[in-house]
């Protein structure tokens, strides 16, 4: 099997999952329109780069813009690892962001509710 094809096969599920997370996050109101478009464009750009990696490499090599070796199996694994890390980081960032907001709101609400209780007690 071609290494270029292997690269696409290994990474396509990750990119589809990342794009789905972005769409779901937007639809559930966890992110704004701008962040949604940025996220979607980011993953589409990565997907396009993976699909066209062979013609891009051939163009760069034939125009003397790179002297690197063609894609090795190690490169495939390394690129997949990097994309997986990006996927995890993006997911974690989104979750932390939502949780941070929830914790802040909860803490605020709790403090106000407790204060009402405590202030009533003090008055009595």
């Amino acid at each position: 099997m071609s290494r270029y094809l292997l690269l696409v096969i290994l990474n396509t599920p990750l990119i589809i999952a990342a794009m789905m997370n972005t769409v779901v996050g937007y639809k559930l109101g966890h992110m704004g329109r701008r962040r949604f478009f940025f996220g979607l464009s980011f993953w589409l750009l990565i997907f396009a780069a993976l699909v066209f990696v062979k013609p891009i490499y051939s163009y760069l090599f034939s125009n003397n813009l790179t002297q690197t070796e063609p894609l090795s199996l190690f490169d495939v694994m390394q690129i997949t690892g990097i994309i997986f890390t990006l996927f995890i980081a993006n997911r974690a960032y989104g979750k932390v962001d939502v949780l941070e907001r929830k914790v802040q709101d909860l803490h605020q609400e709790l403090s106000i509710k407790l204060s009402e209780k405590n202030n009533k007690k003090t008055r009595n």
């Binding site: 962001d97 605020q108 407790l114």
Partner: protein, 218 residues
Amino acid sequence: MVGRVITDLKNVFAKSGYDYQIILVDDGSKDETAVIGQKAGVHVISHILNIGSGGATATGLSYAQAKGFDIAATLDGDGQHSAADVLKGIKLLDEKGGDLLIGSRLIDTQGMSRVKQLGNKGLTFVTFSLFGVKITDSQSGLRIFSRKALNELKWKTAGYEFCSEMLWRAKQLGLDIREFPIRAIYTDYSMAKGQNNWNGFNIVKSLLRRRIMELFGE
């Protein structure tokens, strides 16, 4: 010090004719702040965890919003703002309008050290450069809010950088931002409690990050 701030506010507002309530937000402090507030008979909201001045201000204003206040004012608990200036700001907003009124310490800088002036002017310049908000003192804690501002204004940062972010959000919402001169009172206590210029770097870093993240739709 917080006890004296409460007493001053009570003395000034008792004669003002306004129906008022004093709210003390204790941001998880380890000292007697909450007890002093309760003894003084003000409404005390205690944070379980220390969040930062931005979070404490948000809590106080959220309470004011929930209670349907027409006007709310924030001031620092270190005694650097006079109760008379708070009342002056409230009257100004009440009579002349506006949504967010900032008590500027930099229109009349008497009593403020050159180092403090430099730090505050620097952060005001950063606020203008990053967010385009033209104001003389972006870091002042004395702020007066209309009901519209109370209902609409929200910010994300919890630390000292909220001062600049709040102005930015107010500008984004199209709120009417105004300012009026105040005289800051610097004592050994307020000098020790206030932020130093080195913290300014952290504020700039955080504001820069927030500005960049906003470009990507954060």
